[in-house]
């Protein structure tokens, strides 16, 4: 994983304090777990539609879709986090987010099992992520939110999608090969 840092991909978000992380989050479900991501980064939510597969891309990239004239990539978050896959249901949808990937703003879609609600999470409700216990690499986690006895894993979506740049993925692969 040092190689990832060398690639210059990781942005310095680790320094965020717990207070900074307070705010509104869109929560969604992946498998049995609830996740959240900052509402400000969400552009829209659309139902699952026909996705054009792009050949020779990592498994977690399902393909591209036509979003009002713009072609954007769509990722399967389950696969990205190494979870097992299930069939898509009626509740499966695509959350279109705008992230900062290598300097410029890029729109991407992420496939989730279901979208829950928008929650206002206070700083007091957020704890640091433990270094074990979740499926997800701690790099991707902003923190753990506890709302009404429910645990929401708050994702740093910039980090999650930063490594999705296929060119970087390939470079990393070459370095290790």
């Amino acid at each position: 994983m040092d190689k990832v840092k060398d690639a210059g991909v990781v942005t310095a978000t680790a320094a965020k304090t717990v207070e900074d992380k307070a705010g509104k989050y869109l929560t969604f479900r992946l498998d049995q777990e609830e996740y959240g991501l900052e509402i400000l980064k969400v552009r829209e939510i659309i139902g699952l539609m026909n996705i054009t597969h792009v050949p020779r891309t990592p498994e977690y990239i399902r393909g591209v879709i036509n979003l009002r004239g713009k072609v954007i990539p769509v990722l399967d978050l389950r696969k990205k986090f190494g979870m097992g896959t299930t069939d898509d249901t009626e509740e499966t949808c695509v959350i279109v987010v705008e992230v900062n990937s290598i300097g410029s703003a890029v729109m991407m879609g992420i496939i989730v099992d279901a979208v829950s609600e928008v929650l206002d999470i206070q700083g007091s409700q957020i704890e640091e992520a433990p270094s074990f216990g979740t499926n997800v690499d701690t790099r991707f986690i902003l923190g753990i939110g506890k709302v009404k006895d429910e645990v929401k894993i708050l994702l740093d979506i910039d980090q999650v999608l930063a490594g999705s740049d296929v060119s970087m993925v390939q470079e990393m692969g070459e370095q290790q090969a």
């Binding site: 026909n50 020779r56 393909g63 004239g69 990539p73």
Partner: protein, 815 residues
């Protein structure tokens, strides 16, 4: 308008634009009032006193000598309004009221005479100040230190620096854009001036352009720009009045001024975006010097460049230079045109002169008839609108072609749907049309460059343009400039002969390069035709063989020979000039044209000339492609690359080392690539008896792509896939299909490279025991344990290379 009225109008304009901290502007207004006062002939009228009083008040504002600047400013403004009604509207003095504060009765006369009447305290103070009190800053010094626009003294260094820290960036950005437009207009007018049509209109237009730039620059405190514009404006003013002929060397200086202004605008733009300052000292002072010397000595530079009609008549052999000179000397009215003179003095029949004039007019550039009213639109908004129109078209077709609706539709519904379709198509056409830009702008830039080039080369060349109103898509307009420029340079440098040589071969001394743009057959063409020496086939062939670009003895058609000059490393120029000859030119041109999905044709006649014809699609936003299905997914192969399509049976295909497939295509061995394997798609049926193959070419290489089905030709909008897929060189973009889905566009070169790469790796890795294995395997790109590419060669993962074990592991992965 009388001079006085004009002066008042100028002051009014300056007043509106100036603000209280703008010293140069205030000084100018002060000066304006003084001059206005002098212009008034009447001693009895209140006007001169008013003008003087205003001047004094402005001076006090400059010197910070008033208790309330804003109030005093208001007084000045009100006074000017009163002056305007007096002078411009010709009201009676009794009806016009000057503000009380102006204190007309106590205005001091400029000559220094003391006024009778009760001097106000203010006046006393002023007089004391002007009588040499060492603490005061005398008026002249004030002007000097605050760099007034009208002073002819050298400005201190600071006025050459552009510092935009305090500036409103939106305003400055707008100014830069508009000023650039003004520069372009001025340049165009200047070139029109040389062809002689409507001289007055052109000079006025140029004058106005500089004037506007000056005003806006002054308002934004962009001093170098303001000074330069001001001096240029003054020069043009002399031209307007007739004391100066804007031609030859003088025209050159105005061209230089426009160039310099452009450089200043560029510098300002950089300063604005980077937050730095821009130092204009290299550009501005020398030019200001040159401008001022002309302004002060208008007679020194004799008008250059003969009367074009005269040249034409001489060329046609109808008159001699002597006859023209003597006719000119006998001319009584200096403004009379040469043609008229010659006819009046019976040197030439009117018919001959008329013919020459007609030819002259024809050879001029066409002007657009009317000036249309235009609106400026943010290109982002325009693009979004065009995108949305595209969406509408797709949605409309999904409704209009829906089986369910059509089966139950009544006659009325069908009619309405058809109406909807018609409107949608119209909207689509309008959307496409909005992206079109006339090539006029590009042609202008080229014409200008040609003018500079011909001077350097020592040849006389005329650039004729045709079809500058031809419109092309925005996506293309930026990309055509470079190749056109290069080809024109080539024509001038290598094609057109030196004047002496031309005359010897019976050609007119002046060479002609024709630049034409036109639409034909759904494409847009750009032709560059010169009447030079043409291409030497034998020399080209010899050079190509010498540089090992082709085999000797190969039989090529004429056009194939000409195409050789487009190969990299080719150059027959004996010397390298700074214009061309380095042998890196034409192949870059070719690459640029191909990047635009265009084509270059070359034709030539030795001794007569060469024609370069560039064929381009109407827009880069739309691609013509062949829709194919591979493993139940849709792909598009660009029609440009398609040679033909075939249907093959398995027996027509031969294999090498059990892996590579070839087919004998009329004597040529064509390698086959199974896309479904290359892209790791799940093939519909591995062993098919019949395959559909699309033969494509990329430059000189041909391959056959095996697909499942051909679905026909499509014209689709091409969309970039973004940086995420930047490394997927085998896909050049996405196309939005008629059902709203995305079809991927195959990049032929990328596919060829990928196939080559994989083949290479496979051979170096698994040499034996692969004959039985028909599954395509690829090199591992392992990132971490949990993420694995489809179809990887798992032997590395499993740590084994035994075929049977490998197959077992593979099977488990591919489940």
């Amino acid at each position: 308008m009388t001079k006085l009225e004009k002066k008042i109008e100028d002051i009014a304009a300056d007043l509106i634009m100036a603000d209280l901290d703008d010293m140069p502007a205030l000084a100018k207004i002060h000066e304006g009032f003084l001059q206005a006062g002098k212009l008034s002939k009447s001693k009895k009228s209140v006007f001169p006193k008013a003008a003087q009083a205003c001047a004094d008040l402005v001076e006090k504002i400059i010197l910070n000598d008033v208790p309330d600047k804003k109030k005093s400013w208001q007084v000045v403004t009100d006074s000017l309004t009163a002056i305007q009604s007096l002078v411009r509207d010709k009201r009676k003095e009794s009806e016009v009221h000057f503000p009380e504060e102006l204190d007309l009765g106590t205005a001091k006369a400029k000559a220094g005479k003391k006024q009778d009447g009760s001097p106000a305290e203010q006046v006393e103070q002023m007089e004391e100040k002007s009588s040499g009190d060492p603490d005061t800053v005398p008026q002249d010094d004030v002007e000097k230190n605050e760099q007034p626009a009208e002073s002819q003294q050298d400005e201190p260094e600071e006025s050459y620096i552009i510092n935009l820290e305090q500036a409103d960036s939106d305003l400055v950005a707008d100014f830069i854009n508009e000023a650039r437009e003004h520069c372009n207009n001025a340049e165009q007018m200047l070139m029109d001036l040389e062809t002689g049509d409507d001289k007055d209109g052109s000079i006025n237009a140029i004058f106005r352009s500089f004037h506007t730039i000056k005003g806006a620059a002054g308002f934004l405190d962009l001093r170098p720009i303001m000074h330069l514009a001001h001096e240029s404006e003054t020069l043009l003013d002399l031209g307007r009045k007739g004391s100066l002929n804007i031609e030859g060397k003088i025209a050159d200086i105005v061209f230089d001024a426009i160039d310099a202004l452009r450089k200043l605008l560029d510098g300002a733009e950089t300063a604005l975006s980077e937050g730095t300052t821009f130092d204009a000292r290299e550009i501005v002072p020398s030019l200001l010097q040159a401008l001022r010397s002309i302004i002060s000595n208008p007679d020194e530079l004799p008008p250059e460049g003969g009367d074009r009609v005269g040249d034409r008549l001489i060329d046609a052999g109808l008159v001699t230079q002597n006859q023209i000179d003597s006719a000119l000397s006998k001319r009584t009215d200096p403004t009379e045109k040469l043609g008229e003179t010659l006819v009046k003095q019976n040197v030439l029949p009117a018919k001959a002169v008329a013919r020459a004039l007609r030819q002259q007019k024809k050879a001029r550039q066409e002007k657009t008839a009317a000036v249309k009213e235009m609106v400026k639109i943010d290109t982002e908004r325009l693009d979004r609108m065009v995108d949305t129109i595209g969406e509408l078209v797709i949605a409309e077709s999904m409704v209009g072609q829906d089986e369910e609706i059509l089966s139950k539709a009544s006659h009325k519904v069908v009619r309405n749907i058809s109406h909807l379709n018609k409107i949608t198509r119209e909207l689509q056409e309008m959307g496409m049309a909005m992206r079109l830009v006339p090539v006029k702008g590009t042609f202008q830039k080229l014409a200008r460059a040609v003018r500079d080039l011909t001077r350097k080369s020592g040849k006389t060349v005329e650039l004729q343009t045709q079809g500058e109103d031809t419109e092309v898509d925005r996506s293309i307009i930026e990309l055509i400039g470079d190749p056109l420029m290069h080809m024109i340079r080539n024509s001038i440098d290598h094609g057109i002969e030196m004047p002496a040589e031309r005359v010897e071969s019976g050609k007119p001394e002046m060479g002609t390069v024709k630049l034409m743009a036109y639409h034909k057959g759904g494409k847009v063409y750009f032709d560059i035709k010169d009447d030079g020496r043409g291409l030497d086939k034998d020399k080209i062939l010899a050079k190509a063989v010498e540089k090992n670009l082709i085999e000797p003895g190969k039989d090529l058609t004429d056009s194939e020979i000409y195409q050789l000059i487009l190969l990299p490393g080719f150059s027959t120029a004996a010397r390298i000039t700074d214009i061309s000859g380095r042998g890196v030119g034409m192949d870059v041109v070719k690459r640029n044209i191909e990047a635009m999905r265009g084509h270059l044709e070359i034709d030539s006649k030795p001794g007569e000339g060469t024609t370069f014809s560039m064929k381009l699609p109407l827009t880069l936003a739309i691609i013509e492609g062949m829709l194919v299905s591979i493993a139940q997914e849709l792909y598009i192969i660009p029609t440009l690359s398609v040679v033909e399509s075939l249907s093959l049976t398995q027996d027509m295909i031969s294999t090498i080392t059990g892996r590579d497939e070839l087919v004998d295509l009329r004597g040529e061995m064509l390698p086959l690539i199974r896309i479904s394997r290359l892209f790791n798609l799940r093939p519909v049926d591995e062993e098919e008896t019949e395959s559909t193959v699309v033969v494509v070419e990329d430059g000189l290489r041909k391959i056959g792509l095996v697909v499942d089905k051909l679905l026909g030709q499509r014209q689709t909008v091409i969309k970039s896939l973004g940086t995420t897929f930047a490394r997927q060189k085998w896909i050049s973009g996405g196309a939005i299909l008629s059902d709203g889905n995305v079809g991927l566009i195959i990049d032929i070169g990328g596919v060829m490279e990928l196939a080559h790469e994989l083949r290479h790796e496979l051979y170096s890795r698994n040499n034996s025991a692969n004959a039985a294995d028909r599954r395509e395997t690829t090199e591992i790109k392992k990132i971490d344990e949990s993420v694995v590419y489809e179809g990887e060669d798992v032997s590395e993962v499993a740590g084994t290379s035994e075929p049977e074990e490998r197959q077992m592991v593979e099977t488990s992965i591919h489940q």
